[in-house]
């Protein structure tokens, strides 16, 4: 088996997602090649070459890949990918964007969000907001897969894979990058945070999130939110945890002023330990919390912060 893993990066550094996708590739078994496509990605490629299990790193360094435009990346990966048995990417917004395009160009299906590998052609994946888990088998010649990274562990960095530059430039010429507004934060990213504290509609406004940030800083935690909090404009969209936001599985998840709608639970119910702080004893979040505290968050959070 020959597996092509598409690296997740921002041209500057390799994202931890890649380590987890390589873990999924290792579970499938076979030769693992990582593709790094971007602009000035020399450092990213060197880093990818260290991931345990990787034997080769292909580097497509070209301006047409700088912004990960799906039209261009989709063509590149379809061009390279036809010679592999599997193509894997993270189920990040980048992977979800270009990989189905690649699959369609190869005339094969895609299996989204796998959480385990049963055999080289058989995987499990959640659907219906995680209320059901399907075991699916693919007969496609190339298996195109996105990996739910919260379900896999990091691989180590013990390899010294060959780094090979390739000059395949695919510029579809139908799309261009205009601008971005990326959130900068000193706190851990939700995907890799060991602890996450999230606020919901109960927070009442964006300013009150500062209380959660204080707790987060004491615990080295990331800060998340429910969709209601994002919709109400308290915080930015990249903080949304849930079925249609980020899927996380930290060691500790603290839900503050969040009711526990199925769409929110879909994004965090695989956390190791769940704490819920809510003033409504009937809130559904208590049904899945390991530790529930029925309290007004405006009392409980300042107290928690001062006692940590």
């Amino acid at each position: 088996m020959n597996i092509l893993v598409i690296a997740e990066h921002d041209n500057v550094s390799l994202k931890a997602d890649t380590h987890k996708v390589v873990a999924a590739a290792t579970a499938i078994g076979g030769d693992i090649t990582v593709l790094v496509a971007g602009l000035n990605v020399g450092d990213v490629a060197q880093h990818a070459a260290k991931l345990t299990g990787v034997t080769k790193v292909l580097v497509a360094d070209n301006a047409c890949y700088e912004h990960h435009l799906a039209e261009n990346l989709g063509l590149l990966v379809a061009d390279l990918g036809k010679d592999y048995s599997h193509i894997l990417a993270s189920a990040s917004t980048t992977g979800k964007n270009f990989l189905p395009r690649t699959a369609a160009l190869l005339d094969v299906g895609q299996i989204s969000d796998i959480i385990s590998v049963i055999a080289s052609d058989t995987f499990t994946r959640p659907f219906y907001a995680g209320n059901a888990i399907a075991t699916v088998k693919s007969k496609d010649s190339v298996k195109v897969i996105t990996v739910r990274t919260s379900a896999f562990d990091n691989v180590e960095e013990t390899a010294t894979a060959d780094v090979v530059a390739i000059d395949n430039a695919h510029d579809a010429g139908i799309s261009s990058y205009v601008s971005s507004e990326l959130t900068k934060s000193e706190r851990p990213e939700l995907g890799s945070a060991r602890i996450i504290i999230s606020g919901g509609r109960g927070m009442q406004n964006g300013d009150n999130f500062k209380m959660l940030e204080e707790v987060a800083d004491k615990l080295g935690a990331g800060v998340g939110a429910s969709r209601a909090a994002v919709d109400a404009g308290f915080v930015s969209n990249d903080m949304q945890v849930g079925q249609t936001g980020k899927i996380v599985a930290p060691e500790l998840y603290i839900a503050v002023g969040i009711s526990g709608a199925i769409q929110h639970l879909a994004g965090m119910k695989d956390s190791k330990v769940i704490v819920a702080i809510n003033k409504d004893p009937e809130a559904p979040i208590f049904q899945i919390a390991d530790y529930g505290l029925e309290a007004d968050l405006f009392d409980a959070i300042p107290e928690l912060s001062s006692k940590l």
Binding site: L69, G74, P100, I133, T135, V136, S138, S175
Partner: protein, 249 residues
């Protein structure tokens, strides 16, 4: 310009589905069905583009059993002009849906195809991207803002790190995220008017698309359930439990 909006009939988002005891699928009998929420947002956006004088016609298309005409009617009541149903009882996979939609795109020649980013039953998040590839169109996925500007459309996309805006040549595919708009409710007069709007029925055979798939579902199971936790009485007790019992802080 014409806008094509593919919509899917799915179980209502408020319903928590259960797995059948024989582990072949989830049990959908007698559950409330609705338009997939992301598709509803796509219909709303298309109707707004029409109201703004940018679009001339909004066509909705749904692939599924006859019952999906209910959702087509709902979309017509929200302001779409006409409907197409592609009748099949197969559970079509995204690649097949994309191939069927590609045929409709060839017939109708829309300038924008507006889809939901994801169905809340399959959670695939593939169809728009696959259709774009088959039709050779650019794509703006997970849109929170759509602005048509001459022969281009600017799409602001919700991505893991924040927002990214791309410019796409028309015709283009756009998939909706939750914050793109808030769909309206259909008024009674519009529900009545929708009854007279046309729905054309066709089939995958007529469109020349094979609906079989290489991806087979072997079984469907319930996720591992969490064992019930405890209620703590105070912040002190919570900290104590997290430190000494769970050992996570």
């Amino acid at each position: 310009m014409k806008i094509l909006v593919p919509i899917k009939r799915v179980v209502d988002y408020n319903v928590k589905v259960r797995v059948k005891s024989d582990n072949t699928d989830v049990d959908l009998s007698n559950l409330k069905m609705s338009i997939n929420p992301f598709c509803e947002i796509a219909v709303e956006e298309a109707v707004r583009l029409k109201e703004a004088g940018i679009a001339s016609e909004v066509i909705v298309v749904s692939i599924g059993e006859k019952a999906c005409q209910e959702q087509i009617r709902t979309a017509l009541a929200l302001g779409a002009d006409r409907g197409i149903q592609i009748e099949t009882s197969e559970k079509v996979q995204p690649l097949t849906v994309a191939k069927l939609l590609h045929k409709v795109v060839e017939q109708e020649q829309p300038q924008i195809v507006l889809l939901g980013k994801q169905t809340i039953d399959g959670d695939n998040n593939q169809t728009g991207q696959m259709l774009a590839a088959l039709a050779g169109m650019p794509q703006g996925t997970f849109a929170s803002e759509v602005k048509v500007d001459g022969d281009k459309v600017h799409v602001t996309r919700e991505v893991d790190g924040g927002l990214v805006t791309v410019a796409l040549s028309l015709p283009a595919v756009v998939t909706t995220d939750l914050r793109l708009n808030e769909p309206r409710y259909a008024s009674l007069p519009n529900i009545m008017k929708a009854k007279r709007k046309p729905i054309v029925v066709t089939t995958p055979e007529e469109l020349g698309v094979d609906v079989s798939s290489n991806i087979e579902v072997l079984k469907v199971e319930s996720p591992a359930s969490r064992s019930a936790g405890i209620m703590v009485a105070s912040v002190d007790e919570l900290i104590d439990k997290l430190r000494n019992e769970a050992k996570v802080i």
